[in-house]
């Protein structure tokens, strides 16, 4: 059980490529932390550093109070689950799970107890004598989990463990991993590029990109208060809509204007951009933040042609053309728009996001 601390950690390569830049991160004991980002964003490097597979070259990495920068992984107490499961093809399931313990010279009976225990919890007892190539993907994933579990490590690392599973299995495994975390009472660091996984599993999410941390926070915060356009766009499905425009001073307050479209900002937001009229901004509007309102509110109405309607069981999505840009919006079943209709919808202004066009930084939450 450990607290992991990154102090200004970085990793640069001679060709100028920075796998990681000035990472400051404090992972609490027993926390479930998810590193989220597109491929090459540095999340795996970060994970390998914790695993001891890659040295920390700038800054410090600490487990509790011990500096671990260059301690090789076999001298650390970490366990890891891989995307490809990485089971030892020449060992039986039992031996695969037991291997880590054998290497650490646990007594025979202790090893046996733990292995069977893990097998029971993961419901793979009947498979113990099989070889990996005789298992299905899901079963292999469980074995991989078991191999990590039995070690009861200080830190439990997962590198996109679910990406090789089919959608259905992925959903159910999420739940299991969550339970596993509860049960094991240890620190989890989980790497993924799947925002849904991140949102469901994480205590805290670290959004990364090009080796730079974009935002750290609890799932809601990341979703509700994205620091920049990248974070805003990386989370949310369907993805957030961006509308470019200019700030205008209405006297009564601030608004964003684009052609015929004008969206007034709520007072507290308006304050943040007071007197900056003329500035190029990008308005962020999540699909779910509109309502169908027969009595249009001034300066909060989207009107345009419905390009497409997609019912999805619970509710339906509209694709709507407003001032030359396509928006994806979610509406309740009750609304009856057809393709080609002209619709006008009311924005829930309190949930708007506003970004500076140049810096792509949020103008509302710093």
């Amino acid at each position: 059980m450990a607290r992991i601390k990154f102090e200004a950690v970085g990793k640069k390569y001679p060709n100028g490529f920075a796998a990681l830049e000035n990472l400051n991160l404090d992972i609490a004991d027993k926390e479930f932390l998810v590193l989220l980002g597109p491929s090459g964003c540095g999340k795996s490097t970060t994970l390998n550093m914790i695993a001891g597979l890659e040295d920390v070259t700038d800054g410090n990495l600490m487990f509790d109070d011990a500096v671990m920068n260059t301690v090789p992984s076999h001298k650390r107490d970490v366990a890891m689950v891989f995307q490809s499961y990485a089971l030892y093809p020449h060992k039986s399931v039992y031996e695969n799970i037991a291997f880590g313990l054998r290497m650490r010279k646990y007594p025979k009976d202790e090893i046996d107890r733990r292995v069977r225990d893990a097998a029971r919890r993961l419901e793979i007892e009947p498979l113990l004598e099989r070889r990996p190539d005789q298992l299905s993907g899901g079963q292999r994933q469980r074995v991989a989990l078991g191999r990590a579990m039995v070690r009861q490590p200080q830190v439990f690392l997962m590198d996109e463990p679910l990406s090789n599973l089919d959608a259905a299995l992925r959903i159910s495994m999420r739940a299991e991993i969550k339970q596993l975390h509860q049960a094991m009472q240890t620190t989890f660091v989980y790497v993924t590029h799947d925002q849904a996984e991140a949102l469901t599993l994480a205590d805290r999410i670290v959004v990364m990109r090009g080796g730079v941390v974009q935002q750290i926070g609890v799932p809601d915060e990341i979703y509700e208060r994205p620091r920049n356009m990248f974070v805003a766009s990386f989370l949310g499905n369907p993805p957030i809509n961006f509308i470019e425009g200019k700030l205008v001073d209405l006297g009564s307050g601030m608004a964003v204007e684009r052609g015929g479209l004008r969206v007034a900002l709520p007072p507290e937001a308006a304050l943040k951009v007071q007197g900056q009229s003329g500035r190029d901004v990008v308005l962020g509007l999540r699909a779910e933040d509109v309502v169908e309102d027969p009595s249009p509110v001034a300066d909060a109405t989207l009107s345009g042609r419905v390009a497409a309607v997609l019912p999805v069981g619970s509710d339906q999505f509209l694709e709507m053309e407003v001032e030359g840009s396509k928006l994806f919006l979610r509406l309740g079943k009750e609304c009856r728009y057809r393709e080609g209709d002209n619709a006008s919808l009311t924005i829930n202004a309190n949930r708007l996001h506003l970004f500076d066009k140049q810096s792509t930084q949020s103008l509302l939450w710093a």
């Binding site: 491929s39 090789p72 590029h193 994806f328």
Partner: protein
């Protein structure tokens, strides 16, 4: 539709998203990281490589350099006490010696002939072994025999087959009525090289076959079924699918076998000792004569060195074609 509701992949839509993707792509090619992943890895790698470095430096690199040094001396073991430094005289002597150029020519033609023959036979054999039929495994076991036997044994075997007085080849030709009396074989300068080439090819074909066979196996069967559907006949399929797919195999065989042929010595020693009348006097043999008959180590090393360089030039292609994968 630019997105679908169930899409799990966040990086899927919107102009902004695209640009983000672009920026995320740029990363160095995995294999060519120059930076060690960890100091421990660097240490262990060095430790693991140390024996090889030591061994190869001692038994390969240093000797080669040393032999260059020798090649600049007029070192004759028949007069061990006087070893003058002669700069490049040995090389000059060689380059102005017609015999040397004859040998080079002979080595070259031997190489070309052998490699061509090997390629043709090996291709046919690998095609055969690539088919699925009873007795295939037996054949592939048989195939290994020539590969496994020592060159010396190979040499004496053929020396006896080629014997002009009692040899099997003469006997066979006679029984087939192709000749009415035994003819001179290795002693006939017109036949010498072809006969030696044959002995060499026979021994080298198996490895070439194996290499080609593996290349063949890597051809995906669906390519053929596809071609079948397009109504391509056997020949067309061979020409348009098999041959192109075999190219890397061919390249490998060609480079490997020509290296073998250029440096080949054993058969020339056992079968003809470079004779008769220099008919089989190749560079490798000349190295031997200079070095151990005339004991002119200086010229010997010079020759050997020229050979080494020549092989290196060839090998450059090996490295080019392989290091990428390593």
């Amino acid at each position: 539709m630019t997105w679908c509701p169930e899409a799990a992949d966040p990086a899927a839509s919107g102009p902004v998203r695209k640009t983000l993707e672009m920026q995320d792509i740029k990363r160095p090619q995995r294999r060519w990281f120059v930076r060690p992943s960890s100091a421990y890895d660097q240490r262990s790698a060095m430790l693991f490589l140390a024996p090889m470095m030591l061994v190869l430096s001692v038994v390969a690199v240093f000797p080669v350099l040393y032999s260059f040094w020798i090649s600049l001396h007029d070192l004759k073991l028949t007069r061990p006490h006087r070893v003058p430094f002669v700069w490049f005289d040995n090389y000059v002597k060689l380059f102005t010696d017609p015999l040397f150029w004859e040998s080079v020519g002979r080595t070259a033609s031997f190489t070309v002939m052998s490699v061509l023959a090997i390629m043709v036979i090996a291709t046919l054999m690998s095609l055969l072994l690539n088919e699925n039929f009873r007795g295939r495994r037996v054949l592939s076991a048989i195939l290994l025999i020539p590969w496994a036997i020592p060159y010396v044994a190979n040499g004496l075997m053929w020396k006896w087959i080629y014997d002009s007085g009692y040899g099997a080849l003469n006997g066979l030709l006679m029984q087939m009525g192709l000749i009415d009396k035994y003819v001179v074989m290795l002693g006939d300068t017109a036949k010498t090289m072809p006969l030696i080439t044959n002995a060499f090819v026979w021994k080298e074909v198996p490895l070439a076959t194996i290499l080609l066979l593996v290349t063949l196996k890597s051809i995906r069967a669906d390519l053929y079924s596809a071609a079948k559907v397009d109504g391509a006949n056997v020949l067309q399929r061979f020409v348009h699918i098999t041959l192109p797919q075999l190219v890397p195999g061919f390249a490998l065989v060609m480079i490997y076998e020509s290296m073998m042929a250029i440096r080949h010595f054993d058969l020339f020693f056992i079968l003809t000792e470079g004779g008769p009348a220099d008919a089989s006097h190749v560079v490798a043999w000349q190295v031997y004569v200079e070095t151990f008959r005339k004991l002119a180590f200086g010229t010997g090393s010079a020759l050997a060195y020229i050979m080494a360089v020549a092989t290196f030039v060839l090998a450059y292609f090996v490295i080019r074609s392989t290091s990428r994968k390593l």
